[in-house]
């Protein structure tokens, strides 16, 4: 035995290259900075020189001025942020909480799939905003109807993604676990769930973008607060600076949500990060 062990310790090739341990400072994308400055200069000049279409548009300086003097310390403005974020959060979370188990059930239980999948296929192509009238009639408060529409936006994406992921789990992964004596509960928890995590992550990325789209539109149609409402009110009252403040705020809010979702995805899939 001993001699055999020795013989097996042949030098092994293909050792991974050791990475340079030096710490890298984050590098600034200078081209990006120049492009952003260029964008604002072009915007400013287009307004000042009165290019066609720009006559009604506010210049960047005016937008900034309005923001600093009237919005930065205005609690109503920040309440709009909170209102929109809350709706996105609730709609998104409920979509995950219901969509992930439903996708798993559809992928693993054939009878359930045959029973439920056709209904999902009928409902899925209906755009979330087409749900607005029914939603207002059905739900007791505006708040709950907006959350419902937001939920619809992310729900089907999650269901379909998880369902497809379950169907495409490598059979070898399941077989190997069966060979090694794993119970069906162990296979579900330790093999199937991790197999679909990458698809859950894709569903989250797509879902968060859709929920922001939907929440803004829903607020414009039926909300009495939120960033979508703020933007719409700016338009109705012919205050272009407010419209632009609203748009930039929505962009920032979406960007912040994406950062959070990206962070969560990395936490969910440590094996994808470590390469």
């Amino acid at each position: 035995m001993k001699s055999a062990e020795k013989t097996l310790e042949t030098p092994i090739m293909n050792q991974p290259v050791v990475k340079n341990p030096k710490i890298r400072l984050p590098r600034i994308n200078w081209r990006g900075v120049i492009a952003i400055i260029g964008f604002f200069v072009a915007w400013h000049l287009s307004v000042k020189l009165g290019f066609p279409g720009f006559r009604e548009i506010a210049a960047p300086y005016d937008v900034l001025h309005t923001f600093l003097t009237r919005y930065l310390d205005n609690p109503d403005y920040w309440a709009s942020w909170v209102a929109s974020f809350k709706r996105v959060l609730y709609g998104f979370l409920i979509a995950q909480l219901l969509g992930i188990p439903l996708g798993l059930l559809l992928g693993t239980r054939q009878t359930f799939n045959h029973l439920v999948y056709p209904v999902i296929e009928i409902m899925r192509p209906i755009p979330p905003l087409a749900w607005v009238p029914i939603s207002i009639l059905f739900w007791p408060t505006t708040e709950s109807s907006i959350i419902f529409i937001t939920f619809i936006g992310a729900f089907f994406i999650i269901v379909i993604n998880v369902h497809d992921a379950v169907k495409s789990i490598k059979k070898e992964h399941i077989w190997l676990a069966q060979s090694l004596g794993a119970s069906s509960g162990q296979i579900f928890r330790r093999i199937m769930i991790p197999s679909v995590i990458p698809s859950i992550a894709v569903g989250m990325t797509l879902g968060i973008a859709v929920t922001w789209n939907v929440v803004i539109a829903a607020e414009m149609i039926s909300g009495d607060n939120g960033l979508g409402r703020l933007t719409w009110e700016g338009y109705v009252s012919h205050t272009v600076t407010v419209v632009i403040i609203g748009m930039v705020s929505i962009g920032l809010a979406g960007y912040l949500s994406t950062i959070v979702v990206d962070y969560l995805e990395k936490k969910m899939m440590p094996w994808r990060v470590a390469r």
Partner: protein, 265 residues
């Protein structure tokens, strides 16, 4: 590691298999395959690609059921997967979300045969033997092809299987790593005499490793030829230059291609 002398005998009788794909006529893959896998021997199953070698392996491991015939292991009919027959798959089946160590200790922990501490100790022993102890906390995607193959061997061997089924395990590795792995497996086999079914489509690999080569052919596939490889053990790559090797190669080539060549005449 235990030795497995005289256990892991497989009797395969009249195996036939059809694949039923929706909207298409059934595909007849295996037809009346009968053969024996002797315990403590390394049996290579050869055939051209697509001839049903993998299907045969899946049936041997109990992942698929045959439409006709049966597989009997040590007197008991094979009906479902079991840790007494473990397969190394063509493409890596290491679970990408588990570290190397977690992949290896999965078997003993799932079977609850030993505690985590004991499993970890055994796993580390195997990983050390396979030159992977430094990589225990890495994920499979961080390993090279050869290292993945060795990790899979450790993952299988920790469960003390009676039969190893390797389905073209070294396909897709570069030539050097491949030869290294062949040498590696042959040493492992000669040390443990673990009953092995090794599937390949490469003749050189087959002769180098085998005690016996079973050749599949025809559509649907049957076992068309059985070839004893009486090259001396322990084996090194020197045997590839011996006269006996060339004789065996000639016989194997005739069995492999004699049939298909007739179609061209």
């Amino acid at each position: 590691m235990k030795t497995h002398a005289l256990s892991g005998e497989l009797n395969v009788k009249g195996l036939s298999k059809w694949y039923h794909i929706k909207g298409q006529p059934p595909v007849h893959v295996l037809d009346d395959c009968s053969f024996e896998i002797e315990p403590g021997k390394l049996t290579v199953v050869m055939g051209t690609s697509g001839c049903g070698k993998s299907t045969l392996a899946y049936i041997l491991c109990g992942y698929l059921n045959p439409d006709r015939g049966q597989v009997v292991m040590d007197g008991q009919q094979v009906k479902e997967p079991s840790s007494s027959r473990i397969m190394v798959f063509q493409e890596t089946a290491l679970w990408p979300w588990m570290t190397v160590l977690d992949n290896v200790i999965f078997g003993p922990l799932a079977a609850a045969s030993i505690g985590k501490e004991e499993a970890t100790r055994k796993a580390m022993e195997l990983l050390r033997k396979f030159g992977l102890s430094e990589f225990k906390d890495k994920y499979p995607s961080q390993l090279s092809g050869g290292m993945k193959r060795r990790a899979e061997l450790a993952q299988a061997l920790i469960n003390s299987p009676k039969v190893m089924v390797l389905d073209e395990p070294f396909r897709g590795l570069d030539v050097m790593t491949r030869e290294l792995m062949q040498e590696y497996y042959i040493k492992l086999f000669e040390e443990t005499r673990l009953t092995t079914v090794f599937i390949t489509s490469e003749l050189e690999e087959a002769i180098f490793l085998a005690d016996r080569i079973l050749i599949m052919g025809g559509t649907p596939s049957k076992m068309v030829h059985s070839l004893e490889v009486d090259l001396p053990r322990p084996r090194t790559f020197d045997v590839l230059a011996s006269e006996r090797y060339l004789e065996i190669k000639k016989e194997a080539l005739e069995a492999l291609y004699g049939d298909s060549m007739q179609h061209f005449v």
